[in-house]
């Protein structure tokens, strides 16, 4: 026992090394790992490895870019600004409304018909839905149907937490600022005939499935929605309570109203669009929106002029990669071309350089 005493431990004061092993040789193991001799791939940046990579990138990116560009170009999209800032705009009168609600109508023409499902968006510009205090101003528990949160919303909702001693449902600035214009689309059958056909706009199916079914829930209960929300009051800016958002469909009311859900998903950037309605295609024979004149009927409630905001209505078809977006295609083509070009330039340089000095590949 005494023989194993290792005074070095004591002197070092550190953790003990392998005690006792005096008879064992201290020769380190000759393994690849310990000797740092693991087989390794050494991608030295030489012309032989780099130049092909440039070309390969170019060759891959350019076709992808073209594909995306073409796809994006095939998407039909029309955008109508109805803020009404220009005096000529029919909605100009609604900037300072004489009477509420103010209704204005904008007509536009589709040059080409829109095939397949058409999405109707409303777009806002200069609207900072991503503002930090704005983003925080909500109570997810309340929106999830939690009873206590319904009656006692989170502090984050201040100052839109209570109104006249009643809890606001839904509380917070996001809900309070919900987009509340109503858009209706009419097709002018033909130039001579002024009869208008109302395009059927689907209110459901615009929100994420998980949002509607998991994240947003009405307060539990069997009684009517109005009962369930009875001790709450609607947000200050709202004209009607949350359980009357959709006058047509009882199931689309309360927190699970899809317009509301879409609004609550705060946009990333100050210029954004949000899905408003779906225009489902009827059958394969007729285009969903045939070319022709349309009337956009706007119930103008949402004030954006005061903060230099803009409002738009967008009609768009979709492709496999979503809405119209020329950027990605262009980006791919550009980067592919640059890469290819670099490859060529470097090849030339390298070729010249090699000729003048052959030692280049000897060096590390």
């Amino acid at each position: 026992m005494a023989m194993n005493y290792n005074a070095k431990d004591e002197v070092d004061g550190g953790p003990p090394g392998a005690p006792g092993g005096t008879t064992k040789t201290r020769r380190p193991d000759n393994t690849a790992f310990k000797q740092q001799r693991l087989p390794a791939w050494q991608p030295f940046l030489t012309a032989g490895t780099v130049l092909p990579t440039f070309f390969i990138i170019g060759l891959i990116f350019i076709p992808i870019g073209i594909g995306i560009f073409v796809t994006s170009n095939n998407i039909r999209e029309i955008e109508i600004d109805y803020t009404g800032i220009e005096p000529s705009s029919p909605c100009n009168k609604c900037l300072s409304p004489v009477s509420t609600p103010c209704i204005c109508t904008i007509n536009f023409t589709l040059e080409k018909s829109f095939e397949g499902n058409v999405f109707m968006y409303y777009g806002l510009s200069n609207f900072y839905q991503n503002h930090r205090r704005y983003v925080k101003s909500r109570d997810d528990s309340q929106l999830n149907g939690d009873r206590s949160a319904l009656l006692n919303p989170s502090k984050e909702c201040e100052p839109y937490r209570r109104n006249e001693d009643k809890p606001i449902a839904p509380c917070g600035a996001i809900a309070n600022s919900m987009f509340n214009d109503t858009l209706e689309l009419f097709l002018v059958a033909n130039e001579s005939d002024p009869t208008l056909t109302l395009i059927p706009l689907k209110r459901k199916g615009i929100a994420w499935w998980t949002d509607k079914n998991v994240k947003f829930r009405n307060p539990p209960g069997t009684e009517s929605l109005k009962e369930r929300f009875k001790d709450t009051t609607n947000p200050v800016n709202w004209l009607k309570p949350v359980y009357e958002l959709d006058p047509e469909d009882e199931d689309n009311n309360g927190f699970i109203n899809e317009d509301f859900i879409v609004w609550m998903r705060t946009a990333a950037l100050p210029t954004f669009r949000k899905l408003y309605r779906l225009i489902e295609r009827k059958n394969d024979l007729h285009p969903t929106l045939p070319a022709g004149r349309y009337y956009l009927n706007i119930t103008y409630n949402y004030p954006v002029h005061s903060f230099d905001g803009r409002k738009r209505m967008i009609l768009s078809t979709v492709s496999w990669m979503g809405g119209k977006n020329p950027f990605l295609g262009i980006a791919y083509i550009t980067i592919g071309s640059i890469s290819f070009l670099l490859g060529v330039v470097l090849l030339v340089i390298n070729h010249k350089y090699r000729n003048s000095n052959n030692t280049a590949d000897i060096t590390i």
Binding site: A7, V11, L45, F61, K155, R161, D211, S306, F307
Partner: protein, 1404 residues
């Protein structure tokens, strides 16, 4: 058992242990006595004092060892307290706490604390684990057992170590480890001796002798602790291992002194002694061993310092970004303040926020959001990487030394990367560059040189097994002989590297009879010089006959008497302990193979000697020279030193029967290898040390038999006196003799005054001359002197000495004085030259390190000449480079010399053709080297001169500081470190290097012959000097490049990540909003992106090892901090900014004006960032092993898994972000994949192109540069410019030289040999016309501005300076000759040289 023994302990009242508060002493008395009541008279204490003593009893430590830092309770607070000493931790906690302020919070407060807590927890866990292992080792040690005398049982009982108290009596048996500092009271040894091995303490494996306290050794009966009533007074506990003093006061009031020879230190092992008993003086943490435990050192590496600076830059950047954002937010608020913006959230009371307040809030929130910029995991990661690097260095098989079974040890964990940045190496010489295995080479006795040619040649033959046998240069002039051996030494140095190889193979290659010596280590293996051996035998025989006469020595001629005294001094003037192999500690010795025994027996029989020469020679081919030699001398004593014993010439002398076998295999345990070498040398001359007790030394002589000298005193060696002495009573003459052995510089000054006779004077000057010669050959010189004391003188001295010995207070000082009084009026006997061989591979290593751009300075305590020669041998100095020697005797002289040297060096730089004739300018293409001695160094290190000195040294290729003290060594290192801001490495093996090792940025210890002090103080311990090459050039380079790249990568990564957030601020009204989910933001660094960079940081090799070794120039990248310099840092920052722009705006544009929500947009950005990081790392990683791949794949996998789980776990749990199902939705979105593909590639395109364009070009340009530099260096070695080595010796010696008059008289003559020198160099004829300026080189030296302005130097000193110039040029010339260039030159110059030597010897 523990219980039981504790219960026996408890009844003992604690009052037994005594300790005096007043004064600097401690009083110890036996624990076995009843509590003292009346006997206080001894200590002279009053009752009040006693009470006081009782009160402070608990201050005396018991033997419990406790090295743990924490207890269970104190762990948390103490550890946290310690961790908060690190500023970064405080910062991160502050940030996390800021999150609890509602107005500024960015994340969930609990979440924000998570990373900080994680880091703290990791560190705490590490500390806890370390502490636990300390606890375990403590526990183990505390529970070792030993025998302690128990009062109750009246016998020794087994107790645990921790239960030992001061005042206990402990009985230790052989091979037991000493549990505490114990005063030796009794030993089973009849002489009261006890041997201990202190390897555990200082690594020295030789036995040390300890002695029973005086007064107890005379006890006849066995020591009984119960009767011990004395009181011991000694020093307070201190950490000086080499000192202990005190006294023991017996009952009768008698006092006896206690010294370190009486103390057994904790941790040592009892050897060769059956049992000892002692009383515990210091226990536990008061023992000297534990007081020496200073704990591991913390050094901060250069890189880390630089990194901290960059961390500050990051902080600044963070503040700037936050400020910018805050101002932006203020303006934004102002713009929308009264516009009733729908998205503007008023205060909770409904009032709108003022822009200023909003800006302040925004600032604070921004700091929280952007905190990632300061990498929280940086410190932890660096520590992990360093630990792994240390592990790999330790595991490197190339750094493993087979011979000593030791590998490189990293003792400091946190400065590995400094190894890659070293600019200056400060090396010790002895034991570092050399083996520190001393081989006796030559000696001079009574002014006659014995060159030991046979020895030299035999040594030389180790290297050149096929070298033809040379005719033994015998008789004639000893000068000639000295030249011969001089040459052989040169050969020896040149073929250093092959030596060990030859040594190993020789024995097996040659025929069996050669086992006689190839198997034996060289240090024990000495072939005596025949002439000297003859003289020794003559003395011996004569004395054997006349031993019973009254004055036997007086009958001898003075020379023979000197010879006899010389060998007696060699044998006994030391502290060598003789052990025999049958003792337990004997290591497995490589015994003489039976055949060798046979051969020896054969040799011993007289018939062999009488064999005809030729016949016998044919059987012994290679070492026949040896026998021939003896044959010629007609000396039939075949004293062959083999395996450490030399057989006495007993077979020849019938009245002395053959020694018993064990006697012959005596081993000498010496404290220094020099001593051992001398004792072995004496043994080769049949003067063998056979026994050493504390009061007598026995020497065995062939004819005289065993002579036993009464050893009166041993005045040990110390570095101030630089000598040691023994005082003995001579058995033949009954005289009191003092034998002194020491450095020539001191001993020469202590000799009898010159008046003692012309003969003595001559001997002295001759000896001095030989000493110089030895030193020039690189031998270590020692002078041996003797003094005969008359009875009265001795009695007088003895009285004062005893007084000194018994004093407690300043005993050392008094003993020192006493020693100085004794060591005067010495009679010079002779001098020895001991060779210290270079270690294997030293010249190659130095060359490599040089190529790597390292400046190597050698700081040695050795003589200037010795040092210079070693420096030449190890290629530190080059023959065709200029050597500036700086020897000054005063401050002013030093200043003047420095000025001149500087002037000279600078004028050399601005080379002008007019100066071609000057010798100085010959080697203009290479830098000069500087040699400075200790005294000049002391002046040069003065505040006023240090800048000049440094400036001069900076211009020199290498610097050699001789005769420097440990303090000077450390001062030099400190100077270079602080003034040149250079990275320094100090390497050494001995205690004298410790201070230097501690001062340097990196301290390297060599676990060599001189104990472990250097290793204990070092950061890295290497077995051999040559391992330094791989350690620095390979591991240093790797460690530095890995760590530098990792740190840069860290900064890049965090800046890039933060950049993403910052660009977003432009699109969210600078509201400090973050599109990246808080979880990702907080854990990204810690979890997702940390592993690959760690793997790269640990394993990446930017250049493979063999290339690094092949091209040491690559090391310069580390020295110049190429990998991590401000430019690289800022370049990385710019790149990070660019990449973050790309990674932000590609998703921005891709999702512009879409219905994407914040986190569905932020998550792809996070993913892009991850991919970009990995790809970036991929470009930076030069070697991809499967570990790298695994780490990368794991990172990606982890990110997506965590994201998927997190996004599916809870719909409402993580306000304000609502990430529910985001990742799942994204995975179904093709745009996500598209941007994940394009963004990282676009972001890295510039870097990639840059790397490609710069990389091969850069390495190529580097190569070109190195090639170019080689070209510029080449002229120096090409024959065109290879001229006579130039020597500038600017010396101002003022030391009293006894032969100056002689010198002055013959000075004119000394220029004549110089002509010969010139003629010997064929280049000269080419260079200058032989007719006009034959004397040009020398006078041109004096034409130097330096000399012209030295008008205050006396002409005498000038001449002596000239002499040394002569010496140097001569030696360098000889060295040149060895290069083989002058093979064609006729031997005539050689003779001239001898002539010169003959003349020179007379006046030196």
């Amino acid at each position: 058992m523990q219980r039981e023994s504790e219960s026996t302990e408890e009844p003992e009242p604690p009052g037994r242990r005594r300790r005096r508060r007043e004064g600097r002493t401690r009083t110890v008395r036996s624990n076995l006595l009843p509590p003292p009541s009346a006997e206080d008279s001894v200590a002279g204490a009053t009752k009040g004092e006693r009470l006081q003593r009782l009160g402070c009893v608990q201050h005396v430590a018991d033997n419990r060892l406790k090295t743990t830092k924490y207890t269970l309770l104190s762990f948390l607070p103490k550890n946290l307290f310690e961790q908060f000493h690190r500023l970064a931790n405080v910062y991160f906690v502050f940030i996390a706490l800021l999150n609890f302020v509602p107005a500024v919070n960015a994340f969930q407060p609990g979440l924000a604390l998570a990373p900080v807590l994680f880091i703290l927890a990791v560190t705490a866990f590490k500390d806890l684990w370390e502490d636990y292992s300390r606890y375990r080792s403590d526990h183990e040690i505390n529970h070792l057992g030993c025998l302690v005398f128990s009062r109750e049982e009246k016998k020794y009982v087994n107790r645990f170590w921790k239960e030992i108290h001061v005042g206990d009596f402990v009985r230790l048996r052989c091979n037991e480890i000493i549990p505490a500092d114990i005063l030796l009271l009794s030993s089973s040894d009849p002489d009261g001796l006890c041997h201990i091995e202190t390897a555990n303490l200082d690594g020295e494996t030789n036995l040390k002798r300890r002695q029973v306290v005086r007064g107890f050794s005379e006890l006849v009966s066995e020591f009984n602790p119960l009767t011990f009533t004395s009181v011991i007074e000694c020093e307070k506990p201190n950490n000086d291992l080499t000192r202990f003093r005190g006294c023991i006061i017996h009952d009768n009031g008698k006092k006896a002194g206690l010294y370190k020879e009486n103390l057994l230190l904790r941790g040592c092992t009892i050897r060769n002694t059956e049992a000892v008993v002692g009383i515990v003086i210091y226990a536990g943490h008061e023992t000297k061993a534990l007081l020496n435990n200073s704990g591991p050192r913390y050094k901060r590496s250069q890189l880390e310092r630089q990194m901290n600076c960059d961390v500050l830059w990051c902080v600044l950047l963070l503040v700037c970004m936050s400020l910018f954002s805050a101002v932006g937010h203020g303006l934004w608020m102002q713009r929308y303040q009264d516009k009733k913006a729908l998205f503007d959230v008023p205060e909770s009371d409904g009032s709108s926020l003022s822009p200023v307040t909003a800006a302040v809030y925004s600032f604070l929130t921004m700091i929280i959001v952007l905190q990632v910029l300061i990498p929280i995991s940086l410190y932890v990661s660096i520590e992990i990487v360093k630990v792994c690097q240390v592990y790999f260095i330790n595991q490197d098989i190339e750094l493993y030394d087979e011979e000593t079974d030791s590998q490189l040890q990293c003792r400091a964990l946190n400065i590995t990367e400094d190894l890659g940045q070293i600019q200056y190496i400060f090396s010790d010489k002895t034991g570092t560059l050399t083996e520190n295995k001393m081989v006796f080479r030559r000696c001079t006795v009574s002014g006659i040189e014995y060159s030991h040619d046979a020895n030299a040649q035999r040594l030389a033959r180790y290297q050149e097994a096929d070298s033809e046998e040379e005719e033994v240069p015998r008789g004639g002039s000893s000068q000639r002989g000295s030249i011969g051996s001089h040459q052989s030494i040169r050969i020896l140095h040149r073929s250093q590297s092959t030596k060990s190889y030859c040594k190993k193979t020789l024995g097996s290659l040659l025929d069996p009879t050669h086992h006689v010596y190839p198997f034996s280590p060289q240090e024990k293996d000495i072939t005596p010089d025949p002439k000297l051996l003859e003289k020794v035998n003559e003395c011996d025989k004569y004395l054997a006959i006349s031993r019973h006469q009254e004055h036997p020595l007086a009958q001898l001629s003075p020379e023979l008497s000197d010879v006899f005294d010389f060998f007696i001094a060699l044998t006994i003037c030391n502290t060598v302990v003789v052990t025999s192999p049958d003792q337990p500690r004997q290591k497995a010795s490589h015994g003489v193979p039976p055949r060798a025994h046979d051969a020896l027996a054969l040799l011993r029989s007289p018939s062999v000697v009488s064999l005809p020469e030729g016949d016998f020679m044919s059987t012994l081919s290679n070492d026949s020279m040896l026998f021939r030699l003896e044959e010629r001398l007609g000396q039939p004593t075949p004293a062959i030193a083999s395996n450490g014993y030399s057989s006495p010439a007993d077979s020849w002398e019938p009245e002395y029967p053959q020694e018993p076998q064990p006697k012959q295999e005596l081993r000498f345990e010496a404290e220094s290898p020099d001593e051992a070498a001398l004792v072995y040398a004496a043994k080769a001359y049949n003067c063998a040390l056979v026994d050493r007790l504390h009061d007598q030394v026995s020497v065995e002589l062939p004819h005289l038999g065993r002579l036993t000298f009464e050893l009166l005193h041993t005045l040990g060696f110390d570095s101030i006196r630089k000598r040691m002495s023994v005082v003995i009573r001579h058995p033949l003459t009954d005289e009191i003799n003092v034998y002194t052995k020491g450095a020539d510089s001191v001993v020469m000054d202590l000799l009898l005054p010159c008046s003692s006779g012309q003969h003595q004077n001559k001997i002295r000057s001759k000896t001095q001359n030989y000493l110089n010669l030895y030193a020039m050959e690189g031998l270590r010189t020692l002078c041996i002197a003797k003094r005969v004391l008359s009875k009265e003188e001795y009695a007088c001295w003895l009285q004062s000495h005893l007084e000194a010995e018994s004093s407690v207070d300043n005993r050392e000082e008094l003993l020192f004085q006493s020693a100085i009084r004794l060591e005067t009026n010495l009679h010079l006997l002779g001098a020895t030259g001991i060779e210290d061989r270079l270690q294997d591979g030293v010249p190659e290593t130095i060359t490599k390190l040089r190529q790597a751009g390292l400046q190597i300075w050698v700081l040695t305590g050795d003589k200037q000449e010795t040092a210079i020669n070693i420096a030449y041998a190890c290629k530190l100095l080059d023959h065709d480079e200029e050597v500036i020697t700086l020897n000054a005797e005063s401050q002013e002289a030093c200043a003047a010399l420095l000025d001149q040297c500087l002037h000279h060096v600078q004028s050399r730089g601005s080379y002008t053709p007019e100066k071609t004739e000057s010798c100085v300018n010959v080697g203009f293409s290479s830098l000069p080297s500087l040699v400075i001695d200790g005294r000049s160094l002391a002046y040069a290190l003065d505040k006023n001169l240090e800048d000049k000195f440094l400036f001069l040294a900076k211009q020199c290729r290498s610097v050699l500081c001789c005769r420097s003290t440990p303090l000077q060594k450390s001062m030099v290192v400190k100077l270079v470190r602080s003034k040149l801001k250079a990275m320094t490495l100090a390497i050494g093996d001995g205690a004298n290097d410790v201070s230097m090792i501690q001062v340097a940025d990196v301290g390297v210890g060599i676990s060599g012959q001189e104990g472990m002090q250097a290793v204990m103080a070092s950061d890295f311990a290497v077995p051999r000097f040559r391992y330094l090459e791989r350690l620095l050039i390979v591991h240093g380079h790797w460690c530095y490049s890995r760590l530098a790249n990792m740190v840069l990568y860290f900064f890049y990564k965090n800046t890039m990540f933060v950049g993403l957030l910052f660009w977003f601020q432009f699109y969210c009204g600078f509201s400090a909003s973050a599109m990246i989910d808080q979880w990702y933001l907080i854990f990204f660094n810690l979890l997702f992106s940390s592993l690959p960079q760690l793997v790269t940081g640990v394993l990446d090799k930017n250049v493979p090892a063999h290339v690094l070794l092949l091209k040491p120039q690559l090391y310069k990248s580390g020295q110049n901090r190429e990998e991590y310099r401000p430019r690289a840092f800022w370049l990385n920052m710019v790149d990070a900014a660019f990449q973050s722009l790309i990674c932000f705006f590609i998703p921005y544009l891709a999702y512009y004006d879409s219905d994407v929500d914040m986190f569905t947009w932020g998550t792809p950005i996070t993913a892009i960032a991850l991919f970009t990081f990995l790809l970036h790392l991929g470009i930076e990683t030069k070697t991809w092993t499967w570990l790298n791949w695994t780490a990368c794949v794991f990172s990606i996998f982890l990110f997506f898994t965590v994201a998927l789980i997190y996004n599916a776990s809870c719909a409402t749990c993580y306000p304000p972000s609502n990430p529910y199902w985001t990742m799942q939705a994204l995975l179904g979105d093709p745009v996500f994949y598209l941007i994940c593909l394009i963004a990282p590639i676009t972001a890295l395109l510039p870097r990639w192109v840059l790397e490609f364009v710069s990389d091969p070009f850069e390495t190529l340009s580097k190569d070109c540069a190195s090639e170019a530099s080689q070209h510029t260096q080449q002229p120096s070695c090409s024959p065109k410019t290879n001229r006579e080595p130039s020597t500038v010796d600017i010396s101002v010696p003022l030391r009293e030289d006894t032969v100056l008059e002689d010198l002055g008289a013959q000075a004119p003559g000394s220029s004549r040999p110089d002509e010969a020198v010139l003629e010997a160099c064929p280049e000269n004829s080419k260079r200058k016309p032989t007719s006009s300026s034959q004397e040009a080189p020398l006078p041109s030296l004096f034409n130097l501005p330096s000399f012209s302005s030295l008008n205050w130097i006396s002409s005498l000193s000038l001449v002596s300076g000239l002499g040394s110039v002569l010496q140097l040029s001569r030696s360098s010339l000889q060295m040149d000759k060895q290069d083989g260039e002058f093979l064609s030159t006729p031997p005539q110059p050689d003779q001239d040289l001898h002539g010169l030597q003959g003349q020179a010897t007379d006046y030196f």
